[in-house]
Amino acid sequence: MPSLSEQLLHRIREAHKRRKLSWWERLYLPAIAQGLWVTSRHFWRNLFLHVVHRVGLFRDVPASVTIQYPEQQRQMSPRLRTRHRLMQRDDGTPRCVGCMLCETVCPAKCIYITPGEHPDPNIEKYAKSFDIDLGKCVYCGYCVEVCPEDAIRMDTQRHDIAAFSRDGMWLDVIELLHPGTRQHTDPPKKFVQLDLDDFRALQHTPPSQSG
């Protein structure tokens, strides 16, 4: 009786042996016909669907699996870590208290905060400027986890981040508070410092003018 390992080896070798093809299989033609049958079935089915979609029939049966990217976007999981945003208080000022925990924990060192004195004694400080260099960011989400005030989140569902320069990857505090403000053609602004009244005014400015 051969040992178990020998039996296993034997079975593996048997399985890897090249099987001799039968005459029918060596003819190739039936296999080619089968393959053509499969691809042509897909072709005619999809062609029919494409044509009837044009006249508005069978719209719920997709003719392709393609997502036409810029126009159609895939539905993302809400848990997906996407571009950052800063949360606001009711009056439009950032919820950030300038504790520097996120800047400290950031493994890529891509967060830059300038804290300022807050007039309310119950609030520690506020972020005059809050910048993230997305060119460095590794999307680890540590900043979100470490924040004691829930002031930063990564749930904008924006992942189509592209720029023509490294500076274009820079997000200032306005863009972080109001995602989508800055157009990709705008020149990047670094370390934009705002005081509390600016933040309040920003809340009421339409996005197209505030950038």
């Binding site: 897909h42 072709f43 999809n46 494409h50 392709s64």
Partner: protein, 374 residues
């Protein structure tokens, strides 16, 4: 004399126009058919707009055409024409430039012998719808199709790099192997119809076996048809047989080509595909013959009769020829996007050990049958 010349020129112009446009459309068909087969959408982005206000309807049309991907061939050509024309320093600039022209020239000139319709009366002359009425048309086709290899080998050699030389040699041995099976398989057809004239072969296919079955090549020479189509597909150097090119990994004879010179090789592939489709139609699928369509109209074997004018009959024939060619283009494209590439030993085994003996056997069987039937 002058009018003969003009008629010939017009015929040549029509054929050239049709073939080149069909070749351009093939790039579109290639993109779209492969996409639809694979549950994708395919090219649909290339478009442009005219800047003037009055051009709004044209722009609407351009958007629609662009949405179908039909402007991609145009974009391709623009890209190829504006690319750098590069010759490696180890290569021979003259031969390097000559090679793509040779390929395309010999692929195009074969179409002169292809009959695409019945004869028509023009200016008191009977004009065959065929550019050159050669009584050895089949030999002409085979000879020029083989000369096309020179372009390929020359491209590999004149590039002066090892990989392209190897690609050229692979092409040479592959085409040699399949050229023989191709030629020998057609001997059966020649024996059966008793002529080398392609127009005469098509005329013969208008006869009927047992009074109802069209005497098409596929009916009387099914094995030759299969061998011819396989070998001819190998001649076009497209995917199941694309070892000379081997774009993804083994690198073929046109590695060192860029811009429109590369484009010409690409064009040659498509023209050869059309050529193979046309030859298959002419030799095995009745050319411009429509079943039961005689010179006076349809005459069905069960006794029906539809009278048609001479012009209608000829036009129907041309339409039938075009349709048959288009069907084969579709079939070849489907084969190209279905089958994986052969390994080199499999390719050689298929050519020398399967197709060649089979075509020889076909000659024997056909001769025997011909003698028995007569």
């Amino acid at each position: 004399m002058a009018i003969d010349f003009v008629i010939k020129l017009a015929l040549a112009g029509i054929v050239l126009f049709a073939v080149l446009n069909l070749a351009g459309l093939q790039t579109w068909v290639e993109r779209k058919q492969s996409a639809i087969m694979q549950d994708r959408i395919g090219a649909n982005r290339a478009t442009f707009a005219l800047p003037w206000r009055w051009a709004a309807p044209i722009n609407w049309l351009l958007r629609k055409i662009g949405g179908l991907g039909l402007l991609h061939p145009l974009a391709d050509v623009m890209k190829l024409l504006t690319k750098e024309d590069f010759t490696p320093s180890t290569g021979n600039r003259f031969l390097h430039t000559l090679a793509p022209w040779l390929s395309v020239f010999f692929a195009l000139i074969v179409f002169a012998a292809i009959p695409f319709g019945d004869h028509v009366e023009l200016f008191g002359r009977s004009v065959e719808l065929q550019v050159a009425q050669l009584n050895a048309g089949l030999l002409y086709v085979l000879a020029l199709a083989s000369i096309g290899i020179y372009g390929v080998i020359l491209a590999g050699m004149a590039s002066g790099t090892n990989l392209s030389v190897l690609g050229g040699l692979r092409a040479a041995s592959q085409m040699l192997a399949y050229e023989i099976a191709l030629g020998v398989s057609l001997v059966g057809v020649v024996i059966w119809y008793g002529t080398l004239d392609l127009q005469a072969i098509v005329r013969q296919q208008g006869h009927y076996l047992w009074g109802w079955c069209p005497e098409w090549g596929i009916v009387v020479q099914p094995l030759a048809c299969l061998i011819f189509m396989t070998a001819a597909l190998a001649e076009t150097k497209r995917v199941p047989f694309d070892l000379p090119e081997g774009e993804p990994e083994i690198i073929g004879y046109f590695v060192e080509y860029s811009g429109m010179k590369f484009g010409l090789f690409f064009l040659t592939d498509f023209i050869e595909t059309i050529l193979v489709a046309a030859l298959t139609t002419v030799l095995f699928f009745g050319g411009w013959q429509v079943p039961y369509l005689g010179p006076e109209g349809f005459a069905f074997p069960w006794g029906g009769m539809i009278a048609l004018s001479r012009l209608t009959v000829v036009l129907l024939g041309v339409a039938a020829f075009t349709l048959k060619v288009c069907f084969f283009l579709w079939l070849f494209m489907a084969i190209r996007w279905t089958l994986p590439r052969f390994r080199y030993d499999q390719l050689m085994n298929l050519g020398w050990k399967a197709l060649f003996p089979l075509s020889l056997a076909n000659i024997g069987a056909t001769s025997l049958l011909r003698v028995l039937v007569r």
